[in-house]
Symmetry: C2
Subunit: 587 residues, 2 copies
Amino acid sequence: MALKAQVLYDFTAEPGNNELTVKEGETITVTNKGIGGGWIEAQNSRGEVGLVPEDYIEFKNEFPAASTAPPSNAGNAAYPDLSVFDAFAPVSTPAQNQASNGNDPWSAWNADPSGGTNNNWASNPEGTQTGKSAPDPWGNVSQGHPQAYQGPAAEDDEWDDEWDEMKSSAGYAESESGEAGGIQRGGMHASSMKISLNKFPGFSKSGPELYLLCKQIAKGKDKLSIYVGEVGPVWSYPETQIDCIVADPKKGSKMYGLKSYIEYQITPNTTNRPVNHRYKHFDWLYERLLDKFGSAIPIPSLPDKQVTGRFEEEFIKMRMERLQGWMSRMCRHPVISGSDVFQLFLTYKDEKDWKTGKRKAEKDETVGVMIFTTIEPEAADLEPLEVEQKCEQFSKFTKAMDDSVKEILTVGNEHWKRCTGPLPKEYQRIGKALQNLSTVFTSSGYQGESTLTDALTAAGKTYEEIAQLVAEQPKKDLHFLMETNNEYKGLLGCFPDTIGVHKAAIDKVKEGDKLVAANKITTQDKVAMSKRLSTMSYTLQAEMNHFHSNRIYDYNRVMQQYLEEQVKFYETIAGKLRQAHGQFTTM
Amino acid sequence: MALKAQVLYDFTAEPGNNELTVKEGETITVTNKGIGGGWIEAQNSRGEVGLVPEDYIEFKNEFPAASTAPPSNAGNAAYPDLSVFDAFAPVSTPAQNQASNGNDPWSAWNADPSGGTNNNWASNPEGTQTGKSAPDPWGNVSQGHPQAYQGPAAEDDEWDDEWDEMKSSAGYAESESGEAGGIQRGGMHASSMKISLNKFPGFSKSGPELYLLCKQIAKGKDKLSIYVGEVGPVWSYPETQIDCIVADPKKGSKMYGLKSYIEYQITPNTTNRPVNHRYKHFDWLYERLLDKFGSAIPIPSLPDKQVTGRFEEEFIKMRMERLQGWMSRMCRHPVISGSDVFQLFLTYKDEKDWKTGKRKAEKDETVGVMIFTTIEPEAADLEPLEVEQKCEQFSKFTKAMDDSVKEILTVGNEHWKRCTGPLPKEYQRIGKALQNLSTVFTSSGYQGESTLTDALTAAGKTYEEIAQLVAEQPKKDLHFLMETNNEYKGLLGCFPDTIGVHKAAIDKVKEGDKLVAANKITTQDKVAMSKRLSTMSYTLQAEMNHFHSNRIYDYNRVMQQYLEEQVKFYETIAGKLRQAHGQFTTM
């Protein structure tokens, strides 16, 4: 008897990848269990065969893997001695929350008094596991595609030699970065969390106390300076702005053609020498950046694996466009663009160079909150109260902007649908109706009919042309407005976590006196904590100012572009109608 | 116990007339049975009290009046000896069909072989009685307002002394025009037909044989000439085109304020002296014109009693606009505008003059098909075959145009709804979303924000303005396109009847030889019939040419007006957007 399996989560096949779209609750027949790389081959009830991630299914009559294992808080070995902070609630980490895009990352900041804790994770232990309502690129909630799937680990690692080293170190986050103890490790050992683990190896490194109380601050090199400029604290910007061009997607295949992939060519303006990367390399870069900078700098997620576009070409084009947007944003960030890992990605010389750099980046210990140890604000320390006020302000602003951006996405999506659906159909029908009337008039047999009928036909055709203009317009203007807002939605979705680290640090510093009184920390420790909180605040302010300046630039540009195209659109229509009008005789 | 009644047909109250809207099947309580004039006062289940036409209700536990009496064909006394035509199927009359706007007047011309008879009435005996699905002014089928109700007889005749003379002669059509025998009188004596009888006193005068075989042709005066012009047979047009202005609606009341009415001022360009008329006077004129000219000239119905507009002012304005359109069309027709009854309506000197003229018009015997006796084509007689071909051509054309006009009305109505409903709401939401974003940005605390936020706010407001422009636009352009097509729909709806009379005459002439052989008519009669058919054909052709020339003028004008306004609309939007665009800084 064929091996049956039940689908646990909706999975949408990526075009051109021999995958099979399945729905939660569906029963499928497993036709090949031995595909490897986290995939099985299955057939659905309609006889369609394709690959399905094995984590998405449950074999019938088997005990469901470990996916139902409850979160465990065992093994909270901590360094430095974090047991002094047992009064603190466990703090959410960027990695955890950024992995659970399906949940409202803002929920922790909502006014709900019952849930008024910073601990997203504690109140939502399944956050990273079953984010089944991931927002689609237009802000709609799509049907049950677990966001966690977006990591590459479950995709095709086993088929790629280059990746084996990473695969084999599934638990390296523990072994190699021992100091990043298990404070938030609860339940993470369960095999169902494999994807998340692989995606966010640094999830356990970001408790702010790690930084606030660490003994050793700076290693001298790789210092990140913050200056106080006209607008307040700002990053040190490079003289030349890096940028790159993502282009020329090429299809390759593996496993004797069973799985295919797309390789993109990335050309930085610094070297003008192209390097090739697959989506999973981008994803690797994203993980490294998140791991290293996520506590201080919101790292926007990569474009969804599932983007709009039913056809492969459209899909590839869309993904490339979004990878370009993501890369440009990274290039524009002075800290990210200057980092070793980012430079490696853009300018590796050959395979060997890439592998060496990769290994080095994965062993980087200055990750999580430890990134703050490399930051040097060139300004006087800030009082905790001022820090808190700033933090509140940023929190409010980013929340408000997130709401506003989502509103634009909702409205824009509706407008898009109207412009590409009913509206052009209506103009087409108007056009047809006028042309039909013209045809009838032509049949009158009455003399001197043709001036009117020619003009009527032309008017009818004009409305058909308008129909087409209307249908095509969103691609010319609304598209960029939507893409920009979509990008900002992603970026803003990272702020609650970044700010969360900050808030947790503020809380910890507030406890300072109590801890000194209880002899848990020294007065020196307390002073150091306060100074380090000041550094964190400068970082957050520099980051906010970076965000503001980019935001003003981006919205100015996209609105100009939108309005320019809109003007052209209405002028074109007016021009066409004026021409149609001219065909009628003045009487 | 209160007297209950069941509502037989939907009735929509006319605004400002103390009427009560009722639905078919509803039970109402009669609060005053003695109102008179065909009205009763009733209260519905929600406690609302108002007037309802008594023909629309059935008193509970009473035998339902005569409304269920079957059509009877008794009493077909005919003059001249029409019994010779017993081979002919009964022929529909314009009056009958024009009263049944709710049914498709084109149905008789459909290709349906089973119903391939000219007899609309026979296949639809309820045509004039329960036209319950009357198309509304925008071509939608409204819920059950019997079209027959539009006549004035049942409205308020008894309250108007001036009208008593007409009221008392409910049967005058029979007694005074005795020669108009009862060939189509079947079932018309039933009291349920009172409205139709009053509305169309001449319904029985139009059997074409009346004219084809009548002994005496012309009285010498009131001759209507037809010339053969460039486009074919044409009416003799007057040197000066009459027109008039319908304006200045004034409200009056009767029955101690129980019923109110509107009086319009009509000023013809010939005398430049205004006369006053109420809607029912227009309706009286319509009846006279239909009675006198309906067999030869399609007389479009007056604007519906129930026009769009929920508020009284809007309703009055709309009705006035449509009465103006109707009057202008009548003025443009050389035969109608030159007729005594039309001139009386436009130029009566005083009350006495009006009453005398009214009485005279009502006694006019040259009605129905007898109008053809006054027509003198100044051209050679046409062969019956040619007559038939022309007739077929007109029939096809008017049917095709009717379809096309209805298509435009349907599409236009949809467009109207979109432009006044969802579309402006969407632009408003876009505008609000942009303004909200601007408000959020303003709260950033970042320097140099105001250039962007001011521009964003301006852009948002621009989209709100666009929303308003979009919502108001249909009134500026689509309105006239719809009104013109609606007028044409009404006009085209009259053609099947006019052409029907013609087709019946053709059939009769075809029977000529047979009738001669059977000694039912003389050879002379047969020749006369053929000649008279030729006259009818010239009339139809002149009328078609009049229609064509007006149609070309009207559609040219309305399309120009529409496109002109459309151009202005799109240019205005483009201009506003250009201005909004200019507020963003170029970077």
